[in-house]
Symmetry: C2
């Protein structure tokens, strides 16, 4: 890339969001400066706190403004679990999911890697290095459903999972492309096609068809229940997992847990067609219980910035940050460090 | 119970099903004989092999005949994954799920317990002793969905999750009842109500309402993604989990994995209103790769027989088998034993 600046939207959000994003920006700024690239930051105040103050989730003008940026760096949103002033899930759906859907973030990319000494809860984790390509714009996440006779003994509540050939094919092709670039070149489709026949067969047929375009990539299939078993008994078997929005949500939290926790898990909500900016965010939430105390681990946010740089083509800067993170993580002793201290250490090692 | 015989339907099924069921019957027969109770067995040939021979999944007459039994002991069904003669999922849906739905098995009970020395993949599993009360007759398992423009680039596939106040309330109440009988008296609802709003809120509201009937039982809530994290980082936190059909499917395989594998995981598909016989089955599948080789562990099938006895009220016999299983499992050395050898050892210890 020859651009000399990155026009970056920053949504710190709630809870620990602002703290971890401050460190990610610190590291990002230093890494791109070394390449002669400037960061132009635009901050957006959004999230549960903003909703409490204004009643706004994601106004149309803000969404349009976000569209003009090169990428979005996102912290975390969500109020304290006990806070009943905020209708449950409203920020998640009308802000976070609205961003993913409106900006067509169809590839929800979540890498999982176990770094040297970092504590996995598994006794024998082995080598863990896989990516999950989670579909981001369809499935049970479309918000299609309803309630009939709500609050009565005759209530019926539905949730409709919508899956399209268009939506499934583009994310499956993305997974095969990524597998093709990896040494093991293997794709595992995870679904539950013995029960969810209609959606499951669309996914299965699509994988069979797209596989023909990638003769060097092998592929297999696992039901979601079996996939969770392998995740704790033989995670090394995975290279690239492709799956739907809900199964991907579940599997990536489990994947984060076995590779040392969501303090390290990064993600990208990527629009591969580049018709809108992509958004990069740690997998963790806003963790209100430790907010403002400099206790949060900014590593997941920093690794999300790495995915951001990769997406924008600044691969040199991306590799530098990644190496600094790996060096930092591999030498951790368990001694607690502040959020800023971790960010400083990684920035210093660039 | 004063009945002097149990009228038991046995569906050994495919793969390792017949081998593990033979051991469960052996143990069951001996345990109830000691109480002066006879087992009257009726064998049903059903499953993938039967489908290949006859084209039948579960004929109506067979279903009606099964209704006349006191309970059903079920092995496992399913052909080898590579066998393309059998349409994918047909046995699962038209036989196994048809049984669960037709016989109104609304409580899919799956206990998880880590026995002494049995290998969990977790480095520090702690004490694991919880039950999952999985809804068995609703949710995304209802088979409601369809395909529009199948096989074209404009295909749309849907899956509809159906949830009713009737269905949710009875299973939630069952979970609270069970929690009320346990020392820790705690229920955790697992769902994803921040995304699946309609179904999620029905579940949440129902838990709040039913909780009022059980003042001694505490309860909390976890999203399914967070629940998988706790399952590997702090499984001791769980006492009774209540959840929907699909989340329950996923969580119970993961729960089986962390407690030493699906070779030990038992389940009951229970009709608590006793309007039809309940069905007891190991969580594992038919494992065609090791079928007929006496390699399968019959423990899950034997523990399923324990759940069967508990359901029918033969608690003395149930506790005896359970104690024999625990003693056997806790002294396992990892030395392989045949399916029959394990069954014999447990029967001998009764
Ligand atoms: C907050 C929630 C809506 C979100 C999701 O379910 O996608 C989160 O769990 C995630 O994985 O990014
Ligand atoms: C075989 C399949 C339909 C079944 C299910 O999904 O319920 C199995 O996984 C189980 O957990 O009993």
């Amino acid at each position: 890339m020859s651009a000399t600046s990155i026009n970056l939207a920053v949504i710190p959000g709630d809870g620990i969001g602002p703290e971890v994003i401050a460190e990610a920006v610190k590291v990002l700024e230093k890494a791109v400066a070394a390449e002669g690239v400037a960061l132009e930051l635009t901050n957006y105040k959004l999230g549960a706190q903003h909703w409490l103050e204004t009643g706004e989730t994601l106004p149309d003008e803000v969404l349009e403004d976000l569209r003009t940026r090169d990428a979005i760096l996102f912290g975390a949103v969500g109020a304290a679990p006990g806070d009943t002033r905020i209708p449950s899930g409203i920020i998640e759906r009308e802000m976070l999911l609205k961003l993913r859907f409106s900006l067509d973030h169809y590839v929800n990319l979540r890498p999982s890697r176990l770094y040297g000494t970092v504590g996995s809860p598994l006794a024998n984790p082995g080598t863990i290095d896989f990516i999950v390509v989670r579909e981001g714009t369809e499935g049970p996440y479309v918000g299609n459903g309803g309630t009939l006779r709500g609050g009565t003994p005759h209530e019926v509540a539905t949730e409709v999972s919508l899956n399209t050939a268009h939506g499934v094919e583009r994310v499956v092709r993305d997974a095969f492309r990524r597998a093709n670039e990896r040494p093991r070149k293997h794709v595992t489709l995870v679904h539950k096609h013995n029960v969810l026949v209609f959606a499951g067969h669309l996914w299965k047929r699509t994988v069979e068809a797209v596989a023909l375009e990638f003769p060097e990539v092998t592929h297999d299939y696992l039901h979601i229940d079996a996939a969770t078993i392998f995740m704790v008994t033989d995670p090394s078997r995975f290279d690239v997992i492709v799956t739907d929005n809900l199964f991907g949500d579940i599997l990536t939290d489990l994947a984060a847990a076995i590779t040392g926790g969501i303090g390290l898990a990064a993600s990208g909500n990527i629009n591969m067609d580049r018709t809108a900016p992509s958004m990069f965010e740690p997998v963790h939430g806003s963790a209100p219980d430790i907010a403002g105390q400099q206790k949060a681990d900014p590593t997941a946010a920093i690794l999300s910035a790495v995915l951001l740089l990769d997406h924008l083509g600044y691969t040199t800067a991306a590799r530098k940050i990644e190496a600094a993170v790996v060096a930092d993580v591999e030498t951790r002793t368990g001694e607690p460090r502040s959020t800023a201290a971790i960010g400083d250490a990684i920035a210093a090692a660039l």
